[in-house]
Each structure stands twice: as structure tokens, then as C-alpha cells.
Symmetry: D2
Subunit: 338 residues, 4 copies
């Protein structure tokens, strides 16, 4: 049972809720963040929820028998818009997130950011902690990379999104980022999800490479039940037997998620295909299928990139991408977010 | 080694080719159909190809060391347009193929055909032989279904495409159909592919449900080397672990195929997702990704359909589909084929 | 509804059954083979089955509402033993089937057969029709290969099993083989399955490379409902993302099948892994998991094999295989079939 | 470049190594644990390795150009035996690890431990931190569960293995456990792997549910290059399309891993199939294929289990399991580890 409190709830209101739960024999744990307070009760007696609903500070009481309740459209029928700074990601816009796979240097980062911005990107990506299959591959610049990213973000006036891979890094990452990215390999790193949920920061949650839609939404629910509903889902391809692409973009996941959940969903055409020549057609497919945005890799010199250069777009590619997104957004009655 | 003869080659020309191959110690088999003659030689000595190229009637000699040569863009750089009657499927148009999954009765077939035509379909589909996982499921009306299909096709002036599942049915199916469909389960039924190749009829070759792009093109090569290059490929979803859709539409296959092969490629959004509510967004994604057309299931009364009713579009849905296809085709500078 | 008649049923008995079905408004089709007669009725009224059960010649009436009935243990609780000539495949024995992937020449075939027999094989395999992904790969010797196989089988007194890929080849294959093999690519070639079912010949039915256990049993049901229950299932690996083996042997399928179906199930460790060094450990796993036998590739000179040489066992390997099978069969209280 | 120092290396020896690397322009980081010291240098000049090899304290210098070097058989040709307390896991024995999926209470834990020990288990498993797909499922008892586990381990004289899911829990888990388990969902939680590697504790590394063998070995390499080679790999099934089992046990991975790596590999037949009735046949297959042990779920009352009861073995099942393991271990010339 999850008790969703009103945004105006006070600490005494929370105490009231906990008291009712505990007097009914249940256990309660409280989370707050993102302007919301939730009380999760795992074994309260059945009649307690009725009592709780009578409290003025209680907005909703969600049964825990069904899965992904907080992120479901049953819980919230209207599709959500998540805001990162002044940037909106949601049903009315098509948001372009762009930047290099990894922060390599201040110059490289700034050049990429300028290319991204010129092409209409409103959010800047850049990885400082890179989870790589091999321990011998470039692992990112760490904290110094975060500082470069934040500084370039401020200079170009683009909010920044960056991956977090360890709950022990939360303070330093939150100090420099506007949105936290959870990568495919950490989609079921539940302790990380819980810790992120408690920060109240906007989250970009990538789909695990063999995660079902159901499991993906349950991962989002881990963030949500820790007090944070500012979650954007990102489809980045699943693992199949096909070898001509690095992963198989599951384009159907876009409408499927939008039917099940109120959360925005964007597509990563760069990591899905793993090939520069597929980024444009996959972006077009994503927008046409209704995705709320795309996130793409950009690099000034893909051949020299320290990470995934084979899929990064150049300045020229980005111009073409912009035209495609604009055209297709317009067909769907939407705008490229500005 | 495959010797591709000129369209104007005469029987004596073919005899010359065979003589050269056999005098070099090789074996030759000849196929013709679709306005082309091919001589396939499996073990000729290396110097023979040079001799053959000197003949005026020889258009090309393809080494058999590399895979899918005849269907490759190396063999034919310009993307092909396949014609079924007067209907074109190729890079300049977006072709809509529609009809019921199975022919059930003359009335049902005619009603579906009228809905399809009203929505801009230029090719009519309808199955008379239905390969079903269970032997206890409806297996199609067989020859009587073919007759219904052909008659409705004539009445509505729509060429018809229908599935063939057994080489022994070739004569009867060819007598009633304008295009032969090979279903996913038969993509590697090589004897069927060879037999179809020899008819010279246009072929719609669906991707096997766990076939790689490479294997799919090799299946097309079986048809091609039997003398027939009028092949349209159809992506219909692959089998993965995901359970919210029947199959996972591999949208990346569209640009991947178009890069590797000159053959047109269309998408089946009905069988990919297996859900009516996904047909429209998947169609939009397919057109935006560059597919040369789509093939959809239509039914007047989906609840009562004998096969796959859950994914069939109704008259209302088809109107919306038409608008979407037109809009997106126009964005790509193409027309809904008329 | 399937009406299973007694082995002693006469034509008038069959007529009685059909009359009852048709007078109830149903349609009936009759199959016989393998010493059994079945009447399949697809739309009879509900009360008809009760009437049929009163007939002395009717052994069972199976509802068609549930899947794979004839091959299920509900239909026949005791696990079956299938006989090919004098060779038994079933729960009391461990049967070794061995031979070359493809028949290449009389000498090669005889040498392989002698190696197989010396290692305890009681059934000889050899392919004359080879379904190959590429049309440019060796396709088998066809009818002349069948003759070689049959002749070597007689000389070594080993019944032979060979693949059939086209219903038009049934007469010629049945004339030379003791057991018909259906390959993975044809597991859902339903017209082939039906045609084979009607011959009454023992069948070795390989699992399709992305077939579920459920679909595999339904494919067997196609053979069964055409009048033939002499079916041996063969697990040969499924397609997954893993690349260190050609396919992923689904060892769990052995106990799963044995619980759901009375049919014997054997394992193909050669095609599962596609690597010679894995054949022995996979064979050991198969026997220990309870498989009723294994089928392995043998070659006198694997380097020179025309098909799948990389997985073929040599004379030395076969000696080791024999010892392993004997030891493990004994642990399970079984014998290497003689 | 990884410099592997001798077990007898002293701090001055390490300093010598680092000095040589840095004077060549490289960067060095040092790790020790598990009786070994490693120096990892990511960008040293090419000639440095030759210099290093002249030092007496240097056992090996491994180039980082190739993947999974430290865990490879090229690096260490003889297969390793990992010791957890007095318990050996390696090529000479078959080790049985057993216990409940989750620690639920002192009584439940003790009863399960006694069942496990009576059946020949020498290592006790029990989860205190449970990574569950749903945030609403039982998440484990946490630290109090660890205390119960440790206390029962001492009482029954069984070393204990338990899962760790967060690097922040390392101190508390190491204080109570003899071996750390990394679950499938965390196989690519690289920060966790690095942190664990630095503890020098024995590690049980489960395969990710869609990880290739290559990626699994690279995950082990993350632990290894942090200074710890006491790693046991555990195959627990991969995700495929098959639905009759929870995962598909990739039995081929056992011999494949043993060929590529010197690390021991065990099998988890409980989580692979997710079904009690499959645990015994899959255990038999695992031992016959050469697995160095198995890890199984036990419960006194599976129906009441808080986690995965459907796959837990009872006291009776465990007796049968013991007999099977003993028989099959003996066939392979091994013993059930005592």
C-alpha cells in the first residue's frame, strides 16, 4: 500500500498517516522528494486504507497488489510532462537531447555542445562515468568530466544530463547535473534507483538490454516509490539474435509504454543501431511512432572518439537530423522543443 | 558462378554458354522466367568466366564465393521497382496492400476489398492456405478460397497476393493470383522458393521469425537464382523475449536492407505487433523509416474473424491509416501509389 | 474432435463413425497409417462424441479444444517406444544415431557407417537433400545419395534415417529410408508434416530454431493427426544472442517434453554447439538429463567434409563417445541400445 | 598493461614497479587482495614491460590489448581451485551449495541449513538483500538477515555465501559472509565489481540474463584486475523466447567457459528453470557436462516461502539430489566435496 500525500502535507500529517498504519499492525516507511511525500506500508491490515482516505492530507492510497501503479495511466490518466530546468519533455513537444557519448576535454565538449544547440537540441548529454564491458576500455573522466560538462552547459545555456553508475557518487553528480541518467546495465540496480528517487532530480531511465516493458516500468516504479515521478523512459534497443545492428530498436515499445504509463518516452537511435547511417531513419521512425524526443551522440571527429565513435553524428548530419525532426514533429502536430 | 544472360538471349546463346562451362569441366543448370535467363554453374574451372564474358548475350557473370549477389546493390546499384499488374512497389511510391488475413466467404472478401480500395490500397491480400501453429486451427478454404479471392480482385480491379505453402499447389495458386506470398514459416523452405523462382511470378517474401537479415537475403537469392528478381521483402517482426507484442518489429531492417539490396521492402504492422492499436503507430514508423509500403489486415467484423481478428483494422481505422500514410509519404517526397 | 479407432477397426467401422458425425452436422476426414485410423471432425455438434464412444471400434474421442492432445501424456500416460526396424527408441534405452551430415560418396558413406557401428550406433544418418542457408552451398546428392545411403545401410545392417525437404520427394525417399527426418527449418512446413504423417513411416522431428516447446509439440500433432504416432522429437539448439556456440542447446527441453508428451526425445549435440569439442560434454549432459538418445555427425576426414565438418567426430572421438554414453546410461539404469 | 607481482612481493617491490612505469610516461594504480598484488598501468610506453619482466618480484606482465586476460587459460593454463574457508571449488570436486533463496527467520534458516548439510552441502546460501523486479515484492531482511545467516553458518559449521547489491553495504556484508555473491542483475554493475575485487573476498559471479560468455568473463576481469582472482562463475540461465521455463539453462557455457578460463564454474538449476521438477534433471546435466558444482534453493515449506518457493527443494528432494550428484561425480572421477 502506498499513501500519496498532498504537496501541502506537513510533518504532523505524515505522522498521522504512520500512526494509523502502525496501529493497524502495519509497518511504514516515508520518502519525500520532488515535491511529494509517499508513505509505503508493506503489510498493513485491509481496513486501514479506508481510514487513511478520510485524512485531508492524503491524495491517494494505492494498493500494492498490482504492478507499476505510480507510473501507470490508471494512477494518472493524463500523460506527464517532465521539466529539466526550463526544458519540457512530454506529449506536446519533440525534445532533442544531444552531445558526445563521453566528455573527453573542454574543447571537445564545447564544440559538441555548439553543434547540438545549433541543431535544436535543448538538453546536453555527456558521460563522465562510462560503464564499459571491458575493464580495459576508457572509463570516463569522472569528477573532472562532470565539471567540464557543467561548465559547458552553463556557457551554452543548456541543462545537462549525465549517467550515474554508483550511489556513492550521488552528491558529486547531483552537484553538476540537471538530470540523472541510468544506463541500460543499471536498469535493475535497485539500490541506485532508490537512492536516485530520494534526490528528487529528474531521471532518464534507459531500458535494460533484455528487459521486458513490464520490468522497465517496475524499475521506474522503484524511482517513483522513493518519491520522484520526474522520470523519462528511454528505449535504446534490445538484445536479439540479429547481427547487422548492435541492438534491435523495439519501436513498438513507444506506443506500448504510452498506453500503459503516463511517463514520457524518448528513443536513443545512436545506441540502438550502433551505426551512424541508421541514426536518421531510426529518428524518423521514432518521431513518427510518437516518441516524445530522441537522444543522439554527436562528435566533432567521430574517428577519434574515445567511445562509440561509429555511431556519432557530425555537424553536417545534425543539420539533416534537425530538418527531419521538424518535418515529422509538424506532421504529428507537435513542435521541436525550444 | 551465375551467368546472367541478356533479355534478348536466344536458345542457341544459352547452348553456347553451357557448352563453354561443360568443356571447362563444369556442370550447368539453366533457369528462365521473369524475362531473364540464368545459367548456374557450381564447379566450373576458374578461367571459364573470362571466356563467357566475351559472349554478346552474357550480361554478367557473378562469382558464387560471396553471398546474395543477385539481390545485392553491388550487383544492381539502383533500387528496383517490382510491378504486380499495373501496381508499382519501389522507391518512388508507398504502396498499401490490404485485405483480410483469411478468405472466409465471398461477401466477407468483397466487403474487405471495398474497404481496402477506399483507403487507397492497390493490392488485395487474402489467405486461402493458412499455415497455423495448431492443426486444430482454421486452415483456410484452399482452392475455393483462391477462386473467391480472384473473383473479388477482378470485380474491384485490384491485383491479388496470396500465400503458397506447398510446391504441389503452384499451378492452382498461379492460376488465381497475381503475386505469391511466402510466409515467415516457409522463408527457409528452399524447395518452395526454387519452385516459385521458376514461375517468374512476383513474390512477396516474408522474413522468418528468427531469420537474420543475412539469411533473409539468402532466401531471396534462392528465388533470384531460379530466374526471378521480382521479389518484394516484407519485415513482419522477429521473435524476442518481449511479451507485450506478438513479435518485435525490427524497424532497423528497413534501412539495413535498402543499403544491402536493391529489392523493395515493405512492413507488416499487423502481424508484427499482433494488436490493432499498434497498427497505426507502426505504420507511421515504417513509412518514416523509408519502407516502400505496408501490408495490413482488414476485417468487417474483427470479433468474428476466423484468423487473427485481434489485429485487423475496421473501415474507420483504415480511413485514419490512409491519412497517416499520405502525410508521411509526402514528407519523404513520395506518393501513396495509385 | 479426433476419433481414434481401434487397431482392429474395419472400413465399415469407419463408415459408421463418419455417418454419425455427418448426421450431427459435422464434417469428417479419415487418415490411416502406422497401424491406426483416425477420423478428424472439425465442427461436429457437442453431443456426437458421446454417441461415438458407444461404438466398439472407437478407442478414444479427443476434444480439439486443447492443444497437442494425441502426443500428450494425458492422451497416453505411458511413455512410447518408437521402433525403426528392430531398433527401439524410448525410455528403456539410450539410442545412438550417427553418420555423416551429408552423403558424399559410397566410400565416405561406408567408412562413416563402419565407424558409427563400431561405436555402438544402431541407426545410420546421412543427408541426401541438404537445406542450406545459401543457394551456393552444397545442396546434397539427391536421389543418388539416397541410393548410396540405402545400400550402405543394408551392407552394415543399420536402418537409415534421412531428411526430407519436399512433399514431392516422398515416394523416392520412402523407397530408400527407414525413418524420415524433418529438419529445423521445416518444423512448421505443415504440408510436409501432413504428407509424412500419412505415410506411416517413423519420423524424426527436429525442433525449429526459434520454436517454443508448445509449437514443437503442435508440429508433432500435425504428423499425429494424419495417422502416425511413430514420432521421435530431436532437440538441436535454439537461436539466442550467444555467439560462442552456433545454437544454444536447450537441455531443459528434455525433461519438459517428457513431462508433457509420451513421445521419445533425443538430442543433437553436433548441430547444437556446432563445435567438435562440445559434442562430448553436451552428449553427457543429454544422457544425464534423461534424453532417450543422441544423434551425432561422424566423418572420416572432417577437414574435407562438404557440410558442417567443424562439428563432425572422428573414429577416435567416437570411441570416447561410446564409453561416455555407456557409463551414463548405466547410471540411469538404461542400456546403450543394441 | 597489468603487472602481476609475486605472492612474496614487498611494498618496496611495488614501488619499484610503479617507478619504472611512471618514468616511462605511464600511470599506475595498485591493488592487492586475495594474496596477490597487481599494478594496472593504462598508458605506459611499449618498452616498459620488458624492463618490468627483469624484476624478481614480477610474475607476469599482461598486455591489455586482448580481453579477459587475467581470467583466461592463456594467462593461467591450469584450472583454479577457489577456497571458501576449508571448502574447495574446482576441478577435482563437485561442490554442493544449498540454502533458502531468502533468509526469513532464525528457525527457517537453521532448518534449511540442516537439510542442506545432511544432503552433502558444504556451503550455505541465503539472501538478506533481495533484488526483486517489483519494488512491492519482499526485499530481504537486510542486516538482521545477515546476522541470522552468519549465526546459522557457525552453528552448522558451514561457510556462508550471500548476495551483495550495493557497494555501500560492503563492510556489513563482509563482516558476516565468507563469500560474496553478485547476482545476474548486477553482473555489469562495474562499480560494485571493482569494490568487491578490492576486498579480496571469494566471489560468486552469476551470469547476467542476457550476457554473452565474453561479457561474463569481462565482468570477472573487473574483479580480477582489482586484485582478486578468487572468482567462481555461476551459470543461471539466459533469457530467450521459450516460456516453459523461467530462463534457458545454457549448459554449453560450462565447457565453453572451462576452455576459455581457469575459473571454476557452477550451475544454478533452481533459478534456470524456475521449477522444482526440473532441478534434479538439470543438476544431473550440469555435473555430467563437467560443472564444478551446483547451487540449489532449499526450503522447509516451499508453499510459504517469501521468495521463489516454486523452485525450492524439500528435505526429500535433497536426498535424491545427493544420490544423483554422487553417482555422476563418480562417473567423472570426482567426489562430492566434503
Amino acid at each position: 500500500m502506498i499513501v500519496v500525500l498532498d504537496a501541502t502535507a506537513t510533518p504532523p500529517d505524515v505522522t498521522d498517516v504512520v500512526t494509523i498504519i502502525e496501529s493497524g499492525g502495519g509497518r511504514a516507511s516515508t520518502s519525500s522528494g520532488g515535491g511529494r511525500t509517499l508513505v509505503v506500508a508493506t503489510d498493513a491490515a485491509g481496513h486501514v486504507s479506508t481510514d487513511l482516505r478520510t485524512l485531508a492530507a492524503v491524495r491517494d492510497v494505492v494498493a500494492i497488489s498490482s504492478s507499476h501503479k505510480l507510473v501507470s495511466r490508471e494512477h494518472q490518466p493524463v500523460r506527464s510532462t517532465v521539466r529539466v530546468g526550463t526544458v519540457a519533455i512530454g506529449p506536446d513537444t519533440v525534445t532533442l537531447v544531444a552531445g558526445p557519448c563521453a566528455v573527453e576535454s573542454p574543447d571537445q565538449m564545447l564544440d559538441c555542445a555548439l553543434i547540438a544547440k545549433a541543431a535544436g537540441a535543448t538538453l546536453l548529454r555527456g558521460g563522465a562515468y562510462k560503464p564499459r564491458s571491458s575493464p580495459y576500455a576508457f572509463q570516463g573522466l569522472g569528477e573532472s568530466g562532470l565539471k567540464v560538462l557543467a561548465s559547458v552547459g552553463q556557457e551554452t545555456r543548456l541543462p545537462v544530463v549525465t549517467e550515474i553508475v554508483d550511489p556513492r557518487d550521488l552528491d558529486v553528480v547531483c552537484a553538476h547535473a540537471d538530470m540523472l541518467q541510468v544506463g541500460a546495465r543499471n536498469m535493475q540496480n535497485f539500490e541506485l534507483l532508490k537512492a536516485i528517487g530520494r534526490t528528487g532530480m529528474p531521471v532518464l531511465l534507459k531500458r535494460g538490454m533484455s528487459a521486458t516493458v513490464e520490468e522497465w516500468l517496475l524499475a521506474a516504479e522503484y524511482v517513483a516509490m522513493s518519491g520522484n515521478l520526474d522520470i523519462v523512459l528511454c528505449e535504446r534497443g534490445i538484445r536479439t539474435f540479429e547481427r547487422s545492428t548492435r541492438n534491435t530498436l523495439d519501436i513498438s515499445a513507444v506506443p506500448v509504454i504510452q498506453q500503459l504509463s503516463h511517463l514520457p518516452v524518448i528513443v536513443d537511435p545512436s545506441h540502438s543501431g550502433g551505426r551512424r547511417d541508421l541514426v536518421l531513419p531510426l529518428t524518423r521512425a521514432a518521431i513518427a511512432a510518437g516518441a516524445d524526443g530522441v537522444i543522439v551522440d554527436v562528435h566533432t571527429d567521430p574517428e577519434a572518439a574515445l567511445c562509440d565513435g561509429g555511431q556519432a553524428l557530425t555537424r553536417e548530419d545534425m543539420g539533416e537530423l534537425r530538418r527531419s525532426i521538424s518535418e515529422l514533429a509538424r506532421v504529428g502536430g507537435r513542435d521541436l522543443a525550444a
